[in-house]
């Protein structure tokens, strides 16, 4: 009963701030609403018994991704059309399509009859690390994915630096202030 009350409160906050993202005018307000969504989703993860994923959610999403997004929004705020009209004519077709999709999926979910298994694992830090770094040959092998994620993050960082930097040579360092 108490879990349901907490879930309704946190889910209401999450859906409400997601609607704020949909309806806000300036992208900065949308980013702030997105932080509220991320934090309430982290609360739902803790409520479901995965506190480690909730903490990672707050650290990576609310801490890193939205911070980067807010930084770029503030840097590029001088655009002449930072207040473009919100919706165009395509939305007339997109909104009914999304509503139909959501209704069909909700019908399928409600008729599927899934229920919680009380023996489901509460993934703590210990259990996560034990599974993630299990290097036995008969283990799940998540450590290979982990190494792949490391390579992916490194290549994404290099790609971002290569794309966003205007010229890679370090000759004219005094012109750096003009770069966006």
């Amino acid at each position: 009963m108490l879990a349901l009350i907490y879930f309704i409160i946190l889910g209401g906050i999450a859906v409400g701030s997601a609607l704020c993202v949909l309806l806000s005018r300036h992208p900065l307000y949308g980013a702030i609403s997105l932080v509220v969504t991320m934090v309430s989703l982290a609360g739902i993860y803790g409520l479901l018994g995965s506190p480690f994923i909730g903490v990672v959610q707050i650290m990576v999403y609310a801490g890193a991704i939205i911070m980067l997004l807010t930084f770029v929004i503030m840097v590029l705020n001088g655009a002449r059309d930072s207040r473009t009209p919100m919706f165009d004519r395509v939305s007339l077709f997109v909104f009914p399509a999304i509503l139909i999709l959501a209704a069909l999926l909700a019908f399928a979910l409600l008729s599927s009859g899934i229920s919680f298994d009380p023996s489901a694992a509460k993934v703590s830090v210990e259990l996560t690390s034990k599974n993630l770094f299990n290097v036995n040959s008969d283990g799940p092998g998540y450590y290979l994915l982990f190494e792949g994620i490391g390579l992916l993050l490194l290549s994404a960082m290099v790609a971002a630096v290569l794309m966003a930097k205007k010229n890679l040579s370090s000759k004219n360092l005094e012109n750096n202030e003009e770069e966006i």
């Binding site: 949909l22 002449r80 999926l105 694992a121 998540y142």
Partner: protein, 104 residues
């Protein structure tokens, strides 16, 4: 009244629908990125909600995969924002309708 497993999925579905709506209907390019992030969050929530319906051994996988999804989302946001800066430098606009002439 107890917390039922399908309520989690309904919440994830609502967030996913709102995220897709944001990504498809808004014209500012930052809202498109934010809609994609919102959809990724909804998929994570769905993963964990379904993982809780399985037995002990099987439910661990559904709670480790969201960690990888979060890392992929971080890489995607990093590259996406760098691309926005790059496009903004040549187009001087944040309206995605102005980005439709990217032909090399």
């Amino acid at each position: 009244m107890e917390l039922h497993a399908s309520y989690i999925q309904i919440l994830a579905l609502a967030l996913f629908a709102i995220g897709i709506a944001v990504a498809l209907t808004r014209r500012n390019v930052f809202f498109v990125l934010m809609g994609v992030e919102l959809s990724l969050n909804a998929v994570n929530l769905s993963f964990i909600g379904f993982a809780k319906t399985l037995a002990f051994e099987a439910s661990i996988a559904g709670q480790i995969v969201p960690l990888f999804t979060i890392a992929i989302a971080a890489a995607e946001a990093c590259v996406g924002l760098a691309m926005i800066i790059l496009i903004f430098r040549s187009q001087d606009s944040m309206d995605i309708d102005n980005y439709s002439n990217m032909k090399g």
